[in-house]
Amino acid sequence: MIPSTPEYAVALAMLICTAGAAVTLATARHRALAGWIAFGVLALSGLLALLGAASVLLTEPSHAETLFTARRLGFSLRLYVDGLSAVFLILIATVSILAALYSIEYMQHRLEHGVGRYYPNLLLFVAAMYGLVSTTDMMYFFFIFWQMMTLTGYALIRYEPRKPENLRAANRYLWMMQLACGVTMLGAALIAHDSVVTPGGETLLRFDFDAVSHHLPQLLIDQPARVTLAFALFLVGFGIKLGVWPFGRIWLPDAHPAAPSPISALLSGVMIKTGIYGLMRYFIWLVPGSVQAEFPLMKWGLVLAALGTVTLFTGTAQALRQEQSKRLLAYSSIGQAGYLVLALGVCLTLLSSTQPLMPALAATALLGALFHTLNHGVFKSLLFLNAGSVLHATGTQDLNKLGGMLRYMPVTGGTALVASCAIAGVPLFSGFASKWTIYTAAIQGHAAAPILALCAAIAILTSTLTLALFIKFFGAIFLSRTSVLVHDLSRRPQPLEVGWKMRLPQVILLALCLFAGLFPGLMLQFLSRVLQTSRQGLAVTLADAVPASVWTGPSLQSPGHPAVYVPLIVALVFVLMCFFARWLASLGGATRRISAPWLCGYAVEGELNRYRAGHLFDDLKNCLGRKRPPAPVPLTERSAPGQPSNPIPPWSPEKN
């Protein structure tokens, strides 16, 4: 059965997933079989979703399809896949397929826990996300898909329920999601309107997206405060999901490390992205272009930009203090989510401006946000998979106990290096390209709102923090010295490096990273189709302003051409210089010799001498606000190590 429209494709994908869930539940006794079935199901459904997305982006969006209506109850399952949904579908499909493949081997060794609680939930989780990004119902089906995602996510996070911290994390996740759900639905209820609209001959229910959008202009005139409240509630709801300051740290850093690693990858790479999806959808697509004057775009934009800036700085700064690999990655997800919110804020701010070029910059910012969403989805999933591989191989995610893994896990290490470079914004990698887009838009946009330049500067500042963060992550796990733990493990007969089923997803994600980094123009051109294929609300203005001509395959330019970035030329020069450096090093005909590290002669390298990840950047962490260590003990109470303190009371001249 070949689905006729993208909507049917997505619906079918959801159906397949649901059916697959039942099958995997039945075959849960056979771990590998269940895994392969889950992979097959997700691959099939993912292909369907990709197909649907591709057809939307490459041709034209079809119309919304109503699959199921219960008019008396007031809800209908109406799906609509436009460009925006398509991007998220692509992300969900890609990551979920790879995570499923990764899971097969990853779950193979967790014998203490059955997979009956894993694969069915995974499949339903993915299905829920498909649904969430394609439904147009802002109330009931939003609720259903959201709950489906939340509850399966909850089950997956508490997959290893024996650890009390996992339970705590899962519960916290559950309650925060319920809160987000409630808040968002309340917002929807606030701006929903009773009257029925029938654009294009179709009768829409009151909570339908298009219906709400239709009524919004009138509502804005009548009750602006109500609209403001509703949008604030949306911001809170999706902000909780996305991990925006101050909500992010409540649930996100606990939930991500608790789940099995492929799930962490999905949670961080994909699930929290539904938050930015919601924000974009509601703040841009929901607001009709005709009310640009009434809707306080500038204010919302600045609020979002400020929130984003605060989020990216605090998230990254907190990440710097983490000593558990996945926890560190989770905090950094908060930080990266900040970039997305910042970009959205920039987009909204600039949309309000009447200066020339500003709509084009707004579009650039939005595309930057989308680009960064994809990039972050890819490299953060990759990083979680890397951390998972290390966890799988060593059984720990404590950075202090790891070290020197690159020798034993070259593929994992290599992919982690590229992902770290990408997330830290090293030029030539994907993160740099998307951040570049956001920065140029923000700084050029300072003409409209001067404060944006400051936000961009803080973002650049934070990207050095990110760099430090991933130097710590990569350096502590893969470089440094082999720790005792790794050394002991490497003595075992089987190699530490994970099997191909776990390596392949990492390599594929690596390829995506590299591609996006070297051909950012191509990516932005592709993403600009999003705006062209989802012309609704404010997106129409954006779509009309897209400066597509400045993006050619290999190069990026910002609107008005004041900034330019051609990764291929830079890469060429860089590679040439590398060869030159290598040639230079070989000039003297120096020989090589292996030697022991120099520790001042007396000591030899041992575990106690290994400088640990937890100690990296201590002074910086202190400066960023960690409590200083307890004040030094007064001198009189000190004594040399191993020697008891003086039993005689301290000598004072007055005595005797």
Binding site: G601, D618, L635, S639, Q643, W651
Partner: protein, 558 residues
């Protein structure tokens, strides 16, 4: 009459436990006590009478008295009295109660005679091996008289590891030394570092042990020892040279002629000048201020030249023999020396003026490595470290020797006890030294350089001598003996005490401050370690036995 007064106080208190008391002079007191009363008497001296602990000595006296000898030396600085509490221990059971619990400064001294002479300080709070490597068999004690100076015991195992204590939770061990650019000499600090903060350390020093005391007791003779003594330390060599000679002269009641005493004073102060200038330079080098390091060495160089003109060598002056000095200060040299001093005074004034308001330097040195008066007393810290904490002790004034009782000078003190105070104290002491040398040159009276010695030196007499080295008081204990050499010669360099205070000083400091703190006591490991031996902790990666080393060396030759 101070000595008698103290003796009476102790007699009233301990009565029959004091077996004998020698008062060879008013500034020396030797008490021979019962072993059982040793701890009480020491506690009384340190706690109630507020004496400063100087050093503990263990000796193998079996060839002469059939027993072991333990002595604890104390100083009453304000009363100008040096005292020693001695006790004889039976040859078959060399043990006595430890005093380290009550007198923390005795910690190393007790562990030292435990290792080297085999006298057990019972109840020592930290009876870990300090000096002998773990590879040495338990029953081998190199300072016993039946051990030849060049014998390595049969059970010696060069590959045995030293057992360090465990670091505190969450700390990384940063090995510091023996070869580290801050340390000019080998010593190993095992720093427990948390991030950049030093939480503690374990010291494994005693790597510069060359067996000098053993050599002096068994191979060298009275007049050879000054040459060995001044090589205990390359910077304050003359101090040891003079201190040894004075200790022997004390024991033998020899009196060097006044001219010799003035020359000794001049050379000691010249040495202080070059040492302090060197130290200021090195301290600046440690904090990366190389210009001041260079300038300080430039200003110092004329001092080295004039020392060479006087003694024939820039550093090791080979100044003393028993009863006098070897080199004279001629009128020409006198004039030259005055000129050098004038130049030095001008230039050093300029430098001190320049650094006195240097905030950059003070930020690195103020509030760093604090040793307050309590710590000074507890560990018997000495010299500029003590004076920087406001404890005005200076052997030149408190226990006058050579010509110091005939010259005027001020004892420089500061109050903060931090590294900066030590800089200030040393910088100002330079001017005092110049002042002392000038006075000596004025008063240098003609006369012989050496006392006439007609008879052999008496046997079994004790001599104590404290000399204020640039780093603090150097204390020498000599017991004269047969064969023209001392029976026991014990050197207590100032660093021996100051180093014991280091763990307290560097605790909770930044790693960067640790180097300057260590530098600020002007550590002289060679002085400290003159006797001790140490094993090498063998590691997992590359272990050389000494045979391997030899083989490797031979391979390299071919």
């Amino acid at each position: 009459m101070v000595a008698r007064e103290k003796l009476n106080q102790l007699k009233a208190r301990f009565g029959p436990a004091i077996q004998r008391a020698d008062l060879p002079a008013d500034d020396r007191l030797y008490l021979f006590v019962e072993p059982a009363a040793m701890a009480d008497i020491c506690q009384c001296l340190f706690g109630e009478l507020r004496a400063r602990y100087v050093v503990g000595i263990g000796a193998d006296d079996r060839p002469h008295s059939g027993s072991f000898l333990v002595a604890h030396n104390f100083a009453f600085d304000t009363d100008h009295l040096l005292g020693s509490v001695l006790t004889y221990l039976p040859a078959d059971r060399p043990a006595l109660p430890s005093i380290a619990r009550h007198v923390p400064a005795a910690n190393w001294s007790e562990r030292e005679f435990r290792d080297l002479v085999g006298i057990e300080p019972v109840g020592h709070p930290f009876p870990k091996r300090l000096i002998l490597p773990d590879g040495w068999p338990e029953d081998a004690h190199p300072l016993r008289k039946d051990q030849p100076w060049n014998e390595v015991p049969a059970g010696y195992d060069a590959d045995r590891e030293f057992a360090f204590d465990d670091p505190p939770e969450g700390c990384v061990v940063v090995p510091f030394g023996p070869f580290h650019p801050t340390l000019d000499e080998p010593a190993h600090f095992r720093l427990y570092v948390e991030g950049e903060v030093v939480r503690g350390c374990e010291y494994r020093g005693f790597m510069v042990h060359r067996g000098i005391e053993k050599l002096a007791e068994s191979v060298l003779t009275y007049n050879d020892i000054p040459m060995a003594a001044e090589r205990i330390c390359g910077i304050c060599g003359c101090v040891h040279n003079v201190a040894y000679a004075q200790a022997v002269e004390r024991a033998a009641t020899l009196h060097p002629p006044p001219r010799a005493e003035y020359i000794r004073t001049v050379m000691l102060e010249l040495e202080r000048l070059h040492s302090h200038l060197l130290w200021v330079g090195l301290a600046c080098h440690i904090v990366g201020f190389d210009t001041l390091f260079m300038q300080s060495f430039r200003i110092r160089e004329p001092v080295m030249w004039i020392a060479e003109r006087i003694s024939g060598n820039r550093k090791t002056y080979a100044l003393c023999v028993i009863g006098g000095v070897r080199w004279d200060i001629t009128p020409e040299l006198k004039a030259e020396l005055r000129q050098v001093l004038t130049q030095l005074e001008t230039e050093w004034t300029a430098v001190t003026h320049a650094i006195e308001s240097d905030r950059n330097l003070q930020q690195r040195m103020r509030g760093v490595g604090i040793a307050d008066a309590d710590l000074v007393r507890k560990w018997a810290l000495l010299g500029p470290v003590a004076r920087a904490a406001g404890v005005a002790i200076d052997s030149r004034r408190d226990h006058p020797y050579a010509a110091y009782d005939r010259v005027e000078f001020d004892v420089i003190t500061a109050s903060d006890g931090d590294v900066w105070s030590r800089v200030v104290v040393r910088a100002l002491e330079v001017f005092q030294s110049i002042r002392i040398i000038r006075q000596c040159l004025d008063r240098l009276e003609p006369g012989p350089l050496q006392a006439e010695i007609h008879d052999e030196l008496p046997i079994g007499r004790i001599g104590l001598s404290s000399v204020e080295a640039p780093r603090g008081e150097s204390h020498h204990f000599v017991m004269t003996g047969e064969n023209h050499r001392p029976r026991r010669w014990r050197v207590r360099a100032p660093t021996y005490q100051n180093l014991q205070g280091i763990p307290a000083m560097i605790k909770d400091q930044q790693l960067a401050d640790m180097t300057i703190t260590l530098g600020s006591i002007d550590p002289c490991f060679s002085c400290t370690d003159r006797l001790e031996a140490i094993d090498i902790r063998s590691g997992q990666l590359r272990v050389y036995s000494q045979e391997d080393l030899l083989k490797l060396a031979k391979d390299q030759w071919q």
